[in-house]
């Protein structure tokens, strides 16, 4: 059968799509994952409903449509991402409360880290299917 046996398939694909779309926007990702966690905990048996709702977490909006009290993520022309709650709107500015600026700062090729400064270390493993289940590591379509 090539039909989906459950709606979780659609949900997984949606999450992959959203992670790809907002890869450089940690605020958007955090909002999506936090909503996902919240909705899933309430209706874990309805993945189809989660799939309908998740794409609505982040929506594009014109500056003129932003209203006070809304949670927004603003991507600036210099590449910075700023998030916060809209406290005030003036003809030339949007003033944010509870705001954060998120940036991924690329470092030079070699970086020295003092061992004393490390609180915790985690190792990243990739290509796990090839390593642990090689017979299923098919060519990607």
């Amino acid at each position: 059968m090539t039909l989906e046996e459950t709606e979780f398939q659609r949900l997984v694909e949606l999450l992959i799509e959203l992670v790809g779309k907002y890869r450089g926007n940690p605020v958007a990702l955090e909002a999506i994952l936090s909503e996902f966690k919240d909705i899933y905990r309430k209706v874990p048996i309805y993945p189809g409903i989660i799939s309908i709702l998740l794409p609505k977490v982040i929506r594009a909006i014109e500056l003129k449509e932003i209203t006070e009290g809304e949670d927004v993520v603003l991507t600036l022309k210099d590449g910075k991402t700023i998030s916060g709650k809209v406290a005030e709107i003036t003809p030339t500015e949007i003033k944010l409360a509870e705001s954060h600026q998120l940036t991924m700062v690329p470092l030079s090729e070699k970086v020295s880290v003092s061992k004393d400064s490390v609180e915790e270390a985690k190792c990243i493993s990739r290509e796990l299917l090839a390593k642990e289940w090689p017979s299923l590591n098919f060519e990607e379509e």
């Binding site: 059968m1 090539t2 039909l3 046996e5 060519e139 379509e141």
Partner: protein, 418 residues
């Protein structure tokens, strides 16, 4: 190869291991519970071993091939509880028996032993084999029904009477086909045999595994549930079942476990053997139905209206299917989406190597095939298959594995893609 002779006494027990060819010259022995008398020959292939028990003063002649062995044992390998169960079956005449057990506990051998022993008592047993990865009855990706009409040393010698296409090497993500298939095979088996024994998959833990076992039991409603277990590993599955139905059996002492790579190689070998004499079969899309896919379930639209890349278009209730030769631009896609809803894009050629079941008008599986191509322009599906007669195929059931005719697994189909 050297011919050897062996004189046997009643009650003697041997383990015979392939490659081996054996002939009973005098007396009676049982092999896997099946009675073999003077003049009967038995061949055991390499890497398989079965018990031989001597019924009367006998003489056998045998030749050993690679790794072949005849080993005398000090005691029976078949637990007495197995014989007690069979005695009970002869007495109570149940119609359906469900055999549960983890992988590598010997469900296949128990089935073989039961089928052979019941045959000696005039009962014809049907066996449903649900090991879709390396089915003994029927090719991989199917569940098979076989009927014991003569004694067999190994389950795969039981002739296939019906098969149900699952389309995968595992029940994961295919529990609906499993449940439907088991019911279908049991019903067919009961028309041809006195009783049907169903071997359930060795997926006994976790939600989906529990659910599969539970609903198979509920749907088939067997007269007996045989729990073949080493310890108490099946007790969680037995808890909801009426206790008078349950028979707990210990595992035979000579069960051999297969490693994952051994299983994978065996699957490939069995599938390759199935497709050995395959040829190309061309089916007319106007004549054959498609099953278990979105394709050909709606109404066809004029592909040309959707751009040059589109070779096939079909309106379905969920939206629209477009089979495309190249990438479509986002603007065109969003315009189609606003008119038709969800757009399901299928890359032309993505269907290559998908395993399919070929079914006749009575919904019987005629054989397996591997899709070479769906030629939408010509209205044809081109399939590699050992089935020679296109007329007997009225429906194509899509599976979710991609394989080559050599038996090599080359991919999977993303659920919902077609």
């Amino acid at each position: 190869m050297k011919l050897s002779q062996l004189s046997l006494k009643p009650g003697d027990v041997y383990r015979i291991e392939g490659q081996l060819s054996l002939e009973v010259k005098v007396g009676k022995v049982t092999i896997s519970g099946g009675l073999r008398e003077k003049g009967e020959r038995v061949v055991i292939p390499r890497a398989k071993s079965v018990p031989m028990e001597v019924e009367s003063d006998s003489v056998i002649e045998y030749t050993l091939g690679a790794d072949g062995k005849v080993e005398r044992l000090t005691e029976r390998t078949i637990p007495k509880e197995w014989d007690n169960l069979i005695a009970d079956v002869i007495k109570k005449r149940p119609k359906t028996i469900l055999v549960m057990g983890n992988v590598d506990v010997g469900k296949t051998f128990l089935t073989t032993y039961m089928g052979n022993t019941l045959l000696r008592h005039g009962m014809k047993m049907g066996a449903v084999d649900s090991d879709v990865g390396q089915a003994d009855i029927g090719p991989p990706t199917t569940m098979g029904l076989g009927i014991f009409e003569r004694p067999v040393a190994l389950l795969y010698e039981v002739p296939l009477r019906s098969a149900y296409f699952v389309g995968s090497m595992s029940p994961s993500g295919h529990t609906l086909e499993f449940v439907a298939g088991m019911k279908w095979l049991v019903e067919h088996g009961l028309k041809k045999a006195d009783l049907v024994v169903v071997n359930t998959p060795g997926w006994i833990m976790g939600g989906p595994g529990r659910a599969l076992q539970l609903y198979v039991e509920e749907l088939i409603d067997p007269d007996m549930v045989v729990a073949l277990q080493r310890g108490t590993e099946l007790e969680h599955l037995l808890a909801p079942i009426a206790s008078h139905k349950i028979r707990r059996l210990p595992v035979s002492t000579k069960v051999r476990a297969r490693s994952p790579s051994e299983r994978s190689n065996l699957r490939g070998m069995l599938l390759g053997k199935y497709f050995e004499d395959s040829e190309t079969l061309v089916l007319d899309l106007k004549r054959v139905r498609f099953e278990r896919t979105y394709l050909k379930t709606g109404h066809q639209l004029n592909a040309g209206e959707f751009g040059r890349q589109v070779v096939y278009a079909e309106k379905i209730p969920e939206g629209i299917i477009l089979v495309t030769k190249g990438r479509m631009d986002d603007e065109a896609l969003s315009s189609i989406e606003s008119k038709f809803g969800q757009v399901k894009i299928i890359r032309a050629g993505a269907e290559q190597n998908v395993i399919v079941g070929l079914v006749n008008d009575s919904n019987e599986l005629v054989g397996l095939g591997i899709v070479e191509k769906i030629n939408f322009e010509r209205g044809q599906i081109v399939i590699t298959t050992p089935i020679k007669n296109a007329d007997q195929v009225t429906s194509v059931q899509f599976g979710s594995m991609k394989v080559k005719p050599t038996g090599e697994e080359v991919g999977t189909v993303r659920p919902g893609y077609f």
